[in-house]
């Protein structure tokens, strides 16, 4: 390499323009969304959920059958071009009933989750934010109630209330918020301890401002995940209740009712269980995959 004296002239070094000098920063949510997209299972779950929701809303109209129309001569037919899923023991078209069941099961899932979201966030938020004695008492109550599995409460409530869709909403709403309350309170306690909250308070931010700008946005992650995962739990609970005879009343066709009818005729007409079972399982799977994906992508420690 030939070095000339002019090589040693002082000149400023060419600077990198600042915008490309550091890796493009992404916000927490953008990064999370990007990571979620990479998770094939979660996206598959999301797509399925959208599809089944559409089918639930529009499906029963297009099938040409109603969920309650009995047609005894056509009872127990295996799947055919007339009845894609076959018929049940009263000649009702199974596919319509499954789609109708989707409406019920999904609405139970979503409504129950929303109730438990609202009550849980309020309860947990207040407990966590207030701290001290109020927190102690509120969480003591939760701990005591948690002494036995929540499902038992739901069962007992349903025994008292009797079967019916509205009663299921009531029972689920009265019970499952406990889980959300715990998580929200835990999250708020963790955030409260973080130094940036102290910093905010030191700069004179008011309580409301701290709540709005720091506590709530940082809790949204776990809240979102818990809500997503609460939906399959509600769907499962409804199916369970229907199975032991406490769910919606006939001829309404929730997936749980269809499954319990299907189990009875398992030997002779397995398809009558297969389709509702598939519906329940795949829906729950989808929500679980989505919830898992959300959990992985919203975990700040795994930011790359």
């Amino acid at each position: 390499m030939h070095i000339t004296p002019s090589a040693f002239h002082r000149t400023p070094f060419p600077q990198e323009p600042l915008s490309t000098a550091s890796a493009t920063g992404t916000s927490y949510w953008q990064d999370a969304w990007r990571r979620l997209q990479n998770n094939k299972l979660a996206i598959a779950g999301l797509i399925f959920i959208l599809l089944i929701t559409l089918a639930a809303i529009a499906g029963p109209h297009f099938s040409g059958y109603s969920y309650a129309d009995q047609n005894l001569p056509e009872a127990n037919q295996p799947p055919s071009s007339m009845h894609w899923f076959g018929t049940d023991n009263l000649g009702r078209d199974l596919m319509t009933r499954v789609l109708y069941g989707a409406r019920i099961s999904l609405s139970i899932g979503i409504a129950a989750s929303l109730i438990n979201l609202t009550v849980g966030v309020l309860y947990g938020g207040i407990a966590g934010y207030a701290g001290g004695r109020i927190d102690n008492i509120m969480m003591r109550i939760v701990d005591i109630l948690y002494g036995i599995p929540l499902l038992l409460y739901v069962i007992l409530l349903m025994v008292v209330l009797g079967p019916g869709l509205l009663n299921i909403f009531l029972a689920l709403g009265l019970v499952y918020w406990l889980g959300m309350a715990r998580i929200v309170r835990g999250q708020i306690l963790t955030i409260k301890k973080q130094e940036y909250v102290l910093a905010a308070r030191l700069t004179g931010a008011s309580s409301a401002r701290i709540l709005l700008r720091h506590l709530i946005p940082n809790s949204i992650g776990p809240i979102l995940i818990t809500t997503t995962l609460a939906i399959p739990e509600a769907i499962f609970t409804e199916a369970f209740l229907s199975f032991i005879g406490l769910g919606v009343s006939a001829p309404m066709a929730s997936w749980g009712v269809l499954a319990s009818e299907g189990v009875v005729s398992l030997r002779s007409y397995p398809f009558q269980l297969l389709y509702p079972a598939l519906a329940i399982s795949i829906t729950m799977l989808s929500f679980n995959f989505l919830g898992d994906g959300l959990r992985d992508s919203l975990d700040p420690r795994m930011r790359k």
Partner: protein, 309 residues
């Protein structure tokens, strides 16, 4: 010791709340336990009500009931003339317990190794398979799993019985159905616990010390990773319990779960109440034991108890 007293007090409080709540619920049901009997002439109905003190004021019934429960008597069954709730429980609980223990055993023996393997081979094939299978295990409700198992193994293949309770072969299918969810959960908890531990600084230190992968896993990582699994044992047992309702019904197993379901169907209130109380007492006691095990595992808890961070 202070810890123990505190917990015992909580336990009694919980049970008290449960008993009261269930009692009130049962009595909130419109009509009485005999209103479903359509064929009873009124005179006989009145007679039954007398016999069961159903005409006494509520507070008296409550006090009576509490007294009975305190002495261990859970009352008579309304449906089965000559049998008390205690009898029912005594007969059927051992069956459920046997099934439950088998299920828990499988959950631990399958779940923990699966979780470890998934963590050690993180983001490679064994991990993906494990995550996929466990998600299915968590999402497919027990009764569907049971029906599937019956369909494949009993009906189609005829290998295993579907509705018996005699001999070890009849425990296989129900135990499998019951253990699906818990195994999946334990596998996941072990996996995430392990992953978290393997990323810790102290594992890096141990690697720098030149210890073998096996030693690292068993001596250093496992104890730490299993801590979240132990905390799950409480909900695990509760899950097995509620799972037993459906599984025993499907497989016609004469366990406590099946009695519970039948009593709900029959609206046999004392039985419902009695079994609920029994379950609650059982769970609360087992939870206490789990907490003790947890304190033994994690030295930070034992020595710092009472100090809240």
């Amino acid at each position: 010791m202070h810890f123990l007293i505190h917990r015992l007090a909580s336990m009694f409080l919980v049970l008290f709340v449960i008993i009261t709540a269930t009692f009130l619920l049962m009595h909130a049901i419109p009509g009485g336990p005999f209103t479903t009997e359509k064929n009873l002439p009124e005179a006989i109905q009145k007679n039954m009500e007398e016999r069961y003190h159903l005409n006494d004021p509520l507070w008296k019934q409550y006090a009576d009931y509490l007294a009975h429960v305190a002495s261990g008597d859970l009352g008579p069954s309304f449906k089965y003339e000559n049998r008390s709730v205690n009898d029912l429980i005594r007969e059927s609980f051992p069956v459920s317990a046997e099934l439950g223990v088998i299920a828990i055993f499988w959950a631990i023996c399958l779940g923990i190794p699966a979780g470890i393997i998934a963590a050690v081979y993180h983001n490679r094939w064994p991990d993906y398979i494990a995550m996929f299978l466990t998600t299915i295990g968590i999402s497919v409700p027990g009764f569907i799993l049971a029906a599937l198992l019956i369909f494949v193994f009993a009906l189609q293949l005829g290998w295993l019985p579907a509705a018996l309770w005699e001999g070890p072969s009849s425990t296989v299918l129900p135990a499998l159905a019951l253990t699906g969810l818990p195994t999946a959960f334990i596998a996941r908890l072990t996996r995430s616990g392990m992953l978290e531990v393997l990323n810790q600084d102290y594992i890096r230190t141990v690697r720098a010390k030149g210890l073998s992968q096996y030693t690292i896993l068993t001596r250093h990582a496992l104890k730490n990773a299993l801590i979240p699994v132990v905390t799950y044992l409480g909900p695990l047992i509760a899950g097995i319990l509620t799972g037993s309702f459906v599984i025993e019904t499907i497989f016609a197993i004469p366990g406590l779960g099946r009695h519970f379901v039948t009593s709900i169907y029959n609206r046999d209130y004392t039985v419902i109440l009695g079994i609920t109380i029994f379950y609650s007492a059982l769970l609360v006691t087992l939870n206490l034991l789990v907490d003790i095990v947890y304190a033994l595992l994690d030295p930070r808890i034992k020595l710092n108890e009472g100090k809240d961070d």
